[in-house]
């Protein structure tokens, strides 16, 4: 059924259709609307057979989910940013124990400085946590990915983060096609846990494993994720059969058939990029051989898929909302691994950190320069060089130049100058 609704609400309804048995909630923007909606559904009785638990921290949220999942309940929670970081120990534990928890990450920057707006630093900080990570491009895909995520997670006995851009998606009102309960039930079988805490068949879960077996345990986790590379497209195909639309999968190409330059990105920015590509291919100044590769599945990383998508281009530009400080891109680093030996030129464009708007204008400019191989290997989109250089100068002059963030804000005029 087509509905106009907020992204968070759409995700909440989709999660509800998946019949979650235990939902843990701790407020943090911008995921809050999702758990609020679920809480209301449990409280008003529209979502039955479900325990909604207001926990005291994200660490507890993930921990409650761990307990519930180990006891055989389909478990769900949502978080973002600092919240994700606060639960990190439990995040690793959930995957280590092989518990198929589904968690929405409403992507948001990580402080300090504290910032509530969108980028991908939170989820990407957990790229090695053993969780599968799926990135939604639209609210529809966010909704769909949750349904697929429960099935995938439970089949693989691995937890999955469904990542959606904070505010840009979570708070955006869009039309979505909300599936029926029958459709979801047809696609998603009841949770049949691989291992469960059961007095009838007791086991000890969470043993201490020493050097004699730890490597093997870790390798098996890796092998499990590699399995997902075939399972994810298969489940996406099945999804299409039931729900009638393409959603999920490992990655999506757009206008790449003849592209010499391929832009690689994740999440909602893909929409803007596609608009820019369309404009660059069509219109008065059209004719650019440029395309887009959208990565839906960041973990496991589809190395072969990325290589295949890029095999005919000359260059690629990874535009990412994350920064691996001290080296550059995070997604880019993964893409480079995929194209090893292919002789491609590759550029990293760091964009949209902390919610900085990624405008079509800026994209037009940077893509055109990239086509001419006229950008730095690591380019910072719309960086205010004046402010940055001022601060760098100051720091050269005075060893103790005060807090950086405040100084920058002062430079851009947000904070009134006091002593300067």
């Amino acid at each position: 059924m087509l509905k106009q609704m907020e992204g968070s609400r759409a995700v909440a309804e989709a999660v509800a259709l998946c019949r979650p048995e235990v939902i843990c909630a701790y407020p943090i923007s911008p995921q809050t609307h999702i758990v609020e909606a679920l809480g209301e559904m449990v409280k008003d009785g529209s979502l039955t057979n479900s325990e909604f638990i207001n926990v005291e921290s994200e660490f507890a949220a993930m921990s409650v989910a761990i307990g519930a999942s180990a006891a055989g309940a389909r478990s769900y929670t949502a978080t973002a940013s600092q919240g994700l970081l606060y639960m990190v120990e439990a995040v690793y534990n959930a995957s280590g124990l092989g518990l198929p928890i589904v968690m929405t990450v409403a992507n948001r920057a990580i402080g300090a400085p504290i910032n509530i707006w969108n980028d991908h630093s939170d989820a990407l900080s957990q790229r090695d946590s053993g969780w599968l990570q799926l990135f939604a491009e639209t609210n529809q895909e966010a909704l769909d990915l949750h349904i697929q995520a429960f099935r995938l997670a439970e089949e693989l006995s691995l937890p999955i983060m469904v990542c959606m851009d904070g505010f840009i998606l979570t708070h955006a009102y869009e039309r979505v096609d909300m599936p029926t309960q029958e459709q979801v039930d047809a696609y998603l079988p009841p949770y049949s846990p691989r291992q469960v805490l059961d007095p009838a068949e007791p086991v000890s879960i969470g043993a201490m494993v020493g050097p004699e077996a730890f490597m093997e345990v870790r390798y098996l986790a890796h092998a499990k994720q590699m399995e997902a590379l075939t399972l994810i497209p298969a489940y996406a195909a099945e999804f299409k059969a039931v729900f009638g639309r393409d959603s999920g999968g490992l990655l999506h190409t757009y206008s790449t058939e003849d592209a010499e330059t391929i832009i690689i990105a994740m999440g909602s920015v893909l929409g803007t990029i596609k608009d820019v590509i369309d404009e660059m291919r069509q219109g008065d100044n059209g004719g650019h051989k440029i395309g887009v590769l959208g990565i839906t599945c960041f973990r496991p990383f589809p190395l072969a898929g990325v290589a295949a998508a890029l095999q005919h281009c000359k260059r690629f530009v990874v535009l990412e909302k994350s920064l691996a400080i001290g080296i550059g891109g995070i997604v880019a680093t993964n893409v480079r691994m995929a194209v090893t030996g292919m002789g491609l030129k590759g550029y990293t464009v760091i964009a949209g950190l902390g919610g900085r708007a990624i405008t079509k204008k800026s994209l037009h400019a940077v893509f055109r320069k990239a086509e001419m191989d006229n950008i730095d290997p690591v380019t910072f989109l719309d960086l205010d060089w004046k402010v940055v250089n001022n601060q760098l100068e100051r720091e050269k002059a005075h060893r103790k130049s005060g807090p950086v963030a405040e100084a920058l804000l002062r430079d851009v005029g947000v904070v009134a100058a006091r002593n300067y």
């Binding site: 124990l97 345990v217 098996l220």
Partner: protein, 544 residues
Amino acid sequence: MDKPFAITLDPGSSLANLTGSWRTLRPEYVDRLPPCNAACPAGENIQGWLFHAESGNYEKAWRSLVENNPMPAIMGRVCYHPCEGACNREQVDSAVGINSVERFLGDEANKHGWQFAPAAPPTGRRVLVVGSGPAGLSAAYHLTRMGHQAVIYEAGPLAGGMLRFGIPKYRLPREVLDAEIKRLTDFGVEIQLQTKVTNVLEAMKDGFDAVFLGVGAHIAKRAYIPAGDACKVLDAVAVLRDMEGESAPLLGRKVVVYGGGNTALDVARTAKRLGAEEAIIVYRRTREKMPAHHFEVEEALQEGISIKWLTTIKEAGMSEDGGDIMVEKMALDDKGFPQPTGEFERIEANSVVLALGQDADLSLLDNVPGLVVNKGMIEIDAGMMTGHPGVFAGGDMAGNERTVTVAVGHGKLAARAIDSWLRGETWVPPPRHELATFERMNPWYYSDAPKTMRPVLDIIRRQSTFDEVLGGLDETNALFEARRCMSCGNCFECDNCYGVCPDNAVIKLGPGKRFKFNLDYCKGCGICATECPCGAIKMVPEGN
């Protein structure tokens, strides 16, 4: 379940890890000698019979008891219970009332008519027992159990010796005495009354293979006291013996008893019951030095007996009106001996009873070769045998400690030794376990449960009748009393070791079978030994 590798494990699989290899000390179950058993002159296995009494199985308890002592109803009345003096429970609250439980069991046996278990098949050997006092009865009983024919020659008209002729009725009712003697004769002990042995070697010619002498000590010791006619001077043995005769001795209104032993008290208390207005004990030393048992002194005082300590009798009935005695006050010297002070006093007295101790009549032993008499007593070896082979002796005639219980113990030991001797062997006492001292125990586990007091006859009846002074316990409080036993030194299956082992390394073998250690897993921490209430576990170095 499709368990993930390594992180999920099968239940209880740690049994593969044998932690016993960590051990440097190993626990061992031991049995130690309970102090009550160690202190019992009759060699009773007190803890053993309490064991059965605690579970309410009184017949089994009695059967266990009579393996060592055939007269629990008597012993439960007249024994001075050194067991209770040794009882470790004294250090927790108060000693277990062993004596009262013993009496309860004896009375139960009389009430229900329990009989001894059948004796061993006859051996064809005959043993003469001289005297039917406690030593003789005990010896005859044990010999009979072993299949020997025991025949008691008793000089008196009734069996029992000092039990009958030395202990007042109010301490030992005669029906109790008669019942236990009857059980012995029913069992096969033959008693020939009014059969005085004047020559033991002659008597043995009646076809006996050995003899046990238990003639007791019936001859009263005398002290020279100038006496007039107006005041009778009697001896305690005669007074108490006469109590068993047809007419009670005439002692008068005012009776003075001279001496400080239990017999003195018996006579004074008897005099009171015979109607004496005053019964006064005169003793030359202090109360602390009195050989009589404290509780008997206490009971006598309650009954109105007065006691003059540090006093000696100088003369009796010598004054003009005659009805008095003259006493002299004494004072203890540096060494604690009483010395005359020269201070005199007259006390009214119709009679003076001398209770100064007794000697044995050893005339039947004249001309027995090898037999040694020393200070009025027969010398015996560890196996109760005199210097003459085949002649054994026990009881008051062969020991310094003259109590019924000692006599019963002598009888038992002698019977065992005679049995060995008859087989041409020498009796060797079995080795004793190490003493179960209080320090080895963990008394925490015993809750406070003070001794049950036995009912005591009211004072009026005690002064006028020969009813038994001390009552018995009823079943409830006998059971309670039995359950106060701490089982010193011997496992009582309290499950503590089984419960406190952090490694589940104690195996419970089932009722009566105790426990064993699972040395595959025992790490040797020793908690079981520390927490064993009764001290029945010890830690020994591994590898020894």
